[in-house]
């Protein structure tokens, strides 16, 4: 049976879980017993990358070659980097659209660094399950935009994982809670992690988890609190500017701040101490109330999104039946106090806030593998999607908090006579002007010459269950569908991902053709099993002659898998797939009919 794992790829720590029987469990390190893999990757000169606990230990001594919180850089371009980012790491400046870390002579994109963390999790799961793992569900912050989601999918691919689904972290947490408590009603999930903040409001009803609204900030979390506390320490210690500016000292201070922050969640006062590279020990005492004063503005920044999410869900805070806390930063007493005050109720935190997202990812993996049929997530797109129209205006095609998957079609025309092509600029965000929204992609479609206002260009947006957008455009007058070459504004192209994959494989050992053949054969086998299952389960939907045509195509594909031509295998898979599309359509229609009949019947029942 196919093993699908659930992965929480966190800013600070990552975990991997699996649905065992009916309950999810997270895999621990067999030696240390720890379930957390620190999301830290260190690149020692001339050696292999080090991931996790050992890399974290190197963060203070080798801060420039050790990357922490890589998640904060996913899906970004160099222009999104802050001054403190540049203080911390060295980046490739200029030409590239995607952020690249410079480590010695090499450069790494955030998806490549994340892939190393994913590989570590994959190894851990494979060791625990005693079998290869090739498929995964990965969680992402609900407020991640399209570029950030794509980057996460790319990371999975680079790690040798097929990412079956990206699940929003708060939704995954709700799934774990829903499973645990079997409760119904409305739930607010407040998720403050190491680097990101999400608020989601859901309605739970008989196994359906329907997200009503979500909001957040993808650059707000425990890291900001550590940074704030670190700055306080540097000011209080009054170190010479040269010392205070050094990357080594900043890394040491950051570590000390993180530890002091954690201690202050259970104590009223603590000592924050750093031993500088020259051996001098610097220490300052800090009380909880002082910390709270420092971080209050950061905690305050989470409340606006909460109010907006309530408003978008058309609810008042008192309408919420339960509030769930997720993420390590919700251990901070001030955070709990603010959440309690906003929702006027005691928040729930009985599941470990570090594990709950991974547990939910494990449940979702179980749903996708067909092992749990009683639960279903209906999630939403967090930010509006649209295109740039005349005057640099963002015209929305899909509003935020629209349930996914969804599709929409809109017709546009030209503003200038005799345009030969139309440029389409795809945007995401809530602002009125395109310049204030996030650019996702640009492409151009050729059109027939005409006066302004005459051409009709139909743009179709399709958003899948991962919240990832695909766009097609068509010149209505010629009826020509243009295969659109979308250039992601802040993402990797398929070719780049392919090249990275090639580079990551040891060429001395690897025969590329043999690998392509093996992959094509595996895919053909899976595909043939699926088709045969469909044929066996739904013979009544076949039309006359259809079975014969499909059988012939199956036989041809089988013959091809015995051969060595991987391109031919791929072509035949494609052809057989197209040949079964009408059958699939008929089965789906019957499902619609059956669902409504069943619903009508249940109404008649006493």
């Amino acid at each position: 049976m196919e093993r699908i794992v659930g992965i929480d790829l966190g800013t600070t720590n990552s975990l991997v879980a699996f649905l065992d029987q009916d309950a999810p469990r997270v895999f621990a390190d067999p030696e240390t017993g720890s379930v957390l893999v620190p999301s830290v990757v260190s690149f020692p000169a001339g050696g292999d990358a080090i991931v996790g606990e050992r890399a974290k230990a190197l963060a203070a001594t080798a801060p420039v070659t050790t990357i922490q919180s890589v998640k904060r850089f996913m899906g970004l371009g160099p222009e999104h980097l802050s001054a403190s980012d540049r203080l911390r790491y060295t980046f490739v400046e200029g030409e590239a659209a995607v952020v690249r870390f410079r480590i010695g002579a090499r450069t790494y994109t955030p998806p490549e660094v994340s892939a190393l963390i994913l590989r570590e999790l994959k190894r851990r799961a494979e060791a625990a399950l005693g079998a290869e793992v090739r498929k995964a569900v990965i969680t992402v912050p609900a407020y991640f935009n399209d570029s950030q989601r794509q980057a996460t999918k790319d990371a999975g691919r680079l790690a040798g994982l097929e990412v079956l689904r990206l699940v929003n972290e708060p939704t995954a947490a709700a799934l774990a809670y829903g499973l645990d408590r079997r409760n119904e009603g409305s739930v607010a999930v407040y998720d403050l992690g190491g680097g990101t903040f999400d608020i989601s409001i859901l309605k739970l009803e008989r196994g359906i988890f329907e997200v009503k609204a979500t909001n957040g900030d993808t650059r707000l979390g425990g890291d900001d609190i550590d940074e704030r506390l670190g700055l306080w320490f540097l000011a209080a210690a009054d170190l010479p500017a040269e010392t205070a500016q050094s990357r080594e000292v900043r890394a040491l201070v950051r570590r000390a701040a993180e530890e002091a922050k954690c201690r202050l969640s259970s104590r009223d006062e603590t000592e924050m101490a750093v031993t500088l590279p020259d051996g001098t020990r610097v220490a300052r005492r800090i009380g909880r109330s002082e910390l709270e004063e420092l971080i209050a503005p950061i905690v305050e920044r989470t409340l606006g999104p909460c109010r907006q999410a309530l408003k978008d869900a058309a609810m008042r805070s008192e309408d919420v039946d339960a509030v769930v806390l997720v993420g390590g930063s919700t251990r901070i007493p001030l955070v709990r106090e603010r959440v309690r005050a906003l929702f006027r109720r005691e928040p729930l935190c009985d599941l470990d806030p570090d594990e709950v997202v991974a547990l939910g990812a494990g449940v979702q993996a179980g749903i996708l593998s067909g092992r749990r049929k009683d639960m279903l997530l209906l999630d939403v797109v967090p930010l509006s999607l649209g295109i740039e129209t005349m005057g640099g205006v963002m015209t929305r095609l899909v509003e935020r908090n629209t349930t996914i998957p969804t599709g929409v079609r809109e017709t546009f025309t030209t503003a200038v006579d005799n345009q030969t092509a139309v440029d389409i600029h795809v945007l995401q965000g809530e602002r009125e002007l395109s310049g204030d929204c996030r650019s996702l992609a640009r492409f151009s479609i050729p059109i027939e010459l005409a006066a302004a206002g005459f051409p009709r260009i139909e743009v179709t947006f399709m958003i899948d269950a991962n919240g990832i957008l695909s766009v097609t455009a068509r010149d209505v007058r010629t009826g020509k569908e243009h295969s659109v070459d979308v250039k992601p504004s802040y993402g990797l192209t398929d070719e780049e991902v392919e090249r990275m994959l090639e580079e990551s494989i040891d060429h001395a050992e690897e025969d590329v053709a043999a690998r392509l053949l093996a992959e094509a054969r595996t895919d053909a086998d899976t595909f043939l099993r699926q088709i045969e299952r469909t044929l066996a389960e739904a013979p009544e939907f076949l039309q006359s002659g259809e079975r014969e045509a499909i059988d012939a195509a199956i036989a041809e594909l089988r013959r091809a898998t015995a051969g060595r031509d991987h391109d031919r295998i791929r072509d035949l898979i494609e052809r057989l797939n197209a040949g079964t599309a009408p059958l699939a359509q008929r089965i789906m229609s019957a499902s619609i009919k059956r669902a409504l009949e069943r619903k009508a019947a249940s109404e008649l029942a006493p």
Binding site: T413, I531, N577, M588, L596
Partner: protein, 222 residues
């Protein structure tokens, strides 16, 4: 790019729905590249403007339990694509029908009476009111620059409350119109009335949003 003002208000569906969702003969879903089934038929509901929302939700959940792509992950690629399309359609239909304004706009569209984007007629009183509120908002912005904005802010809050009351009254009238249209006594008159109400609602909604934006700016990251 510009909005195509010639085309009808492509609010949810491109065309008047030709034909049914499920062919009664063979059970084939009738959605090709451009044609879409009737959203009411999709939920096996009559084309009526008044809808029992709890019943609609139950129908939506029942369909989602059959069609959602999560349930097709182990099936063939063709079935996965069919499920994605079907679920996207059901989601859009539900979003359209559960909101009275979107539902009414859609209903007008399938009756060949789409609301134009630029040629909405607005009653003179409403236009005057919109103008007055916008002026007040402008004054509020200026006062905020120079200080002492409290008095004006109070006035804006008052008009906000008034606008909300007007909005509720309009929504009630819309429901009454729905009931009349469903009894189809005077179909043509109902169509015209629904159209007029919708354009008023549209103006009020936009105005309320502007006022709220000024009183309590919407939180947005970008």
């Amino acid at each position: 790019m510009a909005m195509d003002t010639d085309s009808t208000l492509c609010f949810e569906c491109g065309k008047p729905a030709a034909g049914q969702l499920v062919c009664s003969g063979c059970g084939v879903v009738q959605h090709g590249a451009t044609e879409e089934p009737d959203f009411f038929a999709l939920f096996a509901l009559p084309r009526r403007l008044s809808i029992d929302l709890a019943d609609l939700e139950a129908r939506y959940y029942a369909l989602s339990r059959e069609l959602h792509p999560d349930l097709f992950q182990t099936r063939s690629p063709a079935e996965q694509v069919a499920s994605l399309r079907a679920a996207a359609l059901v989601n859009r239909a539900y979003r359209t029908l559960r909101d009275p304004v979107r539902r009414a706009l859609y209903w007008l569209t399938i009756h060949g009476e789409a609301l134009g984007r630029n040629n909405d007629r607005v009653p003179a009183e409403l236009a005057t009111q919109v103008f007055a509120v916008q002026e007040k908002l402008e004054e509020l912005r200026e006062r905020r620059q120079t200080g002492a904005a409290e008095a004006v802010e109070g006035e804006v809050r008052e008009s906000h409350a008034l606008l909300r009351r007007q909005m509720r009254a309009l929504e009630e009238r819309l429901q009454e119109t729905f009931a009349r249209a469903d009894r189809s006594e005077e179909q043509a008159a109902s169509l015209a009335e629904t159209k007029a109400l919708l354009s008023e609602l549209h103006y009020l909604r936009t105005l309320i949003r502007d006022v709220e934006q000024e009183l309590e700016p919407e939180w947005s990251a970008s």
